[in-house]
């Protein structure tokens, strides 16, 4: 027995106008300063006819426990019936946790787990509007929050924080900066590949992962020369949301476990952090899921596909301008060698390793981390 879960996905040109059909009386928008300054926030607000709209527009990248608690405090007595997460994964994840905190102020911050019913969405509608194409947060029931006290990224999850609606309007992502585009697309590709070989994989996640790999790799190949193209942006945007739905209905794997730990220690963007490990993880896992890797490789864009998945992923990373070794990510080797034990410890505590197709020991993690520097 297992489940397939998904929000209602509204996509394509003018998808934002769907907001006009939703009955909203008091709306809380959770976003970041860049979205606020860029005019995207106003563009979204133009479709909201609610008499009461409040905005939290200072969510930072990789939001922390304290920042989210601070936002909840500032919301004060405002009682939204609708919460909108607008932005990249950080804003959408923050909105998920704010939804939890507003719904269940009686619970502890870290009680947000999938292991028990929390009764979160009784009084709220929850809408996610991504402005990047990668995290898939709009279609997932996971949220990553930085726990600065513990120096880790807390992987929080509950089916109850999955958005009711995911609105994918290509105009939201067409102006994405190049660095954001390459990091988020790499994150999305990693979601799809890890979902496809997870021990929790299933026919629903399989079909989404295959299509996601095709859309993401083909879309990125085409966007390279035409970054504003709406059709290509829409391909990557939809592919990323499919990849989000794939891993949300299956599981992430070792590349995410390593990436979360690496990102927490070295403060590198999430997409770079998971992508840099993906080729080594594929090499490590290959003995357990070689046929599955061959299958998913066949869905790579012909522009980027190589003879096996590991080489195809390397070709994708090079094409996107992302590093394959830690030195190339601007990390000092001595510092890396000193702190990689912390990465290994955090990785071993990640939920990402339980769904990995090959069993992972601490020495396996040490080996992969050691292989991340130029010989």
């Amino acid at each position: 027995m297992w489940f397939y879960r998904s929000p209602t996905v509204v996509y394509g040109d003018d998808a934002l106008s769907f907001l006009e059909s939703i009955d909203m009386k008091a709306v809380l928008i959770v976003t970041d300063r860049n979205i606020s300054k860029s005019g995207i926030l106003e563009k979204v607000k133009a479709h909201i006819f609610s008499p009461s709209v409040e905005t939290i527009d200072y969510i930072k990248e990789e939001p922390s426990v304290d920042e989210i608690n601070d936002a909840v405090e500032k919301i004060g007595n405002f009682k939204p019936d609708t919460i909108i997460g607008l932005g990249g994964g950080s804003s959408m994840d923050a909105a998920k946790v704010i939804l939890f905190r507003l719904s269940r102020p009686d619970l502890d911050f870290f009680d947000l787990t999938p292991l028990s019913y929390l009764g979160i969405k009784k009084n709220h509608k929850f809408i996610a509007i991504p402005t990047t194409a990668g995290t898939g947060s709009e279609c997932s029931w996971a949220a990553v929050v930085t726990d600065r006290n513990d120096g880790r990224k807390a992987e929080m999850a509950s089916p109850e924080i999955m958005p009711d609606f995911a609105i994918l309007d290509p105009s939201m992502v067409s102006g994405m900066p190049a660095e954001v585009r390459r990091n988020t697309a790499t994150d999305a590709l990693t979601h799809a590949i890890e979902a496809y070989v997870s021990t929790w994989k299933n026919p629903y996640s399989d079909s989404l992962a295959r299509e996601a790999v095709m859309l993401i790799t083909s879309g990125c190949a085409k966007l390279h020369d035409d970054p504003e193209n709406m059709e290509y942006n829409s391909m990557v945007q939809i592919g990323a949301s499919m990849a989000g739905s794939a891993f949300s209905n299956s599981q992430i794997g070792l590349a995410h476990a390593l990436g979360h730990a690496f990102g927490a220690v070295f403060h590198k963007p999430h997409g770079l952090s998971v992508g840099i490990f993906l080729p080594r993880v594929i090499e490590f896992n290959d003995v357990s899921c070689h046929d599955r890797y061959e299958e998913i490789n066949s869905f790579f864009s012909t522009d980027l596909r190589k003879e096996n998945l590991e080489e195809s992923v390397k070709s994708f990373l090079k094409f996107m301008g992302l590093p394959l070794y830690v030195e190339d990510a601007g990390i000092d080797v001595d510092e890396y060698m000193t702190r990689k034990k912390v990465v290994a410890d955090l990785c071993f505590e990640s939920t990402g390793i339980i769904g990995n197709p090959r069993d992972v020991s601490r020495s396996d993690i040490d080996k992969i981390l050691s292989d991340m520097i130029h010989k």
Binding site: W2, F3, F348, E349
Partner: protein, 134 residues
């Protein structure tokens, strides 16, 4: 073959757990006792409990209770009917998916468990390696 549930099965389980290096490694910071509760179902006529004192990758003590209500309070309780325990031990149910699908109930600080999912998996894998009779 050892019959499940029984004290003999639990003793063998603890012995196997003690020699499971992957469990030791993944639970090396774990502190907290756990009670496995097997609810009456099918051939099992009353609820039984197995209490394990788990600390830093070791099982320091274990007790079997023919009547689950006699078991001491513990930090965590993993509860399910006999039929689901059979499937869990036979590897047909993943321990975490078992909770997510309502086949098992977990009581205790959930976030702590989420950081030790690897250890939880090893706890179950150890059980699945015992030649068990149901």
């Amino acid at each position: 073959m050892v019959k499940f549930p029984s004290k003999e099965w639990m003793d063998l389980y603890v012995e196997r757990l003690k020699s499971n290096d992957i469990y030791k490694d993944s639970a090396r910071d774990w502190e907290g006792d756990i009670t496995f509760v097997c609810r009456a179902d099918g051939p099992l006529k009353n609820d039984i409990a197995m209490w394990l004192d788990l600390y830093h990758g070791e099982c320091r003590d274990a007790r079997y209770f023919q009547n689950a209500s006699d078991a001491p309070k513990s930090a965590f309780r993993y509860i399910g009917p006999f039929g689901n325990w059979v499937k869990l031990i036979q590897g047909q149910i993943d321990p975490l998916q078992g909770v997510l699908t309502g086949k098992f109930k977990l009581e205790g600080p959930m976030m702590k468990i989420m950081r030790y999912t690897k250890a939880a998996k090893e706890l179950v894998r150890t059980a699945s390696k015992i030649d068990t009779e149901f």
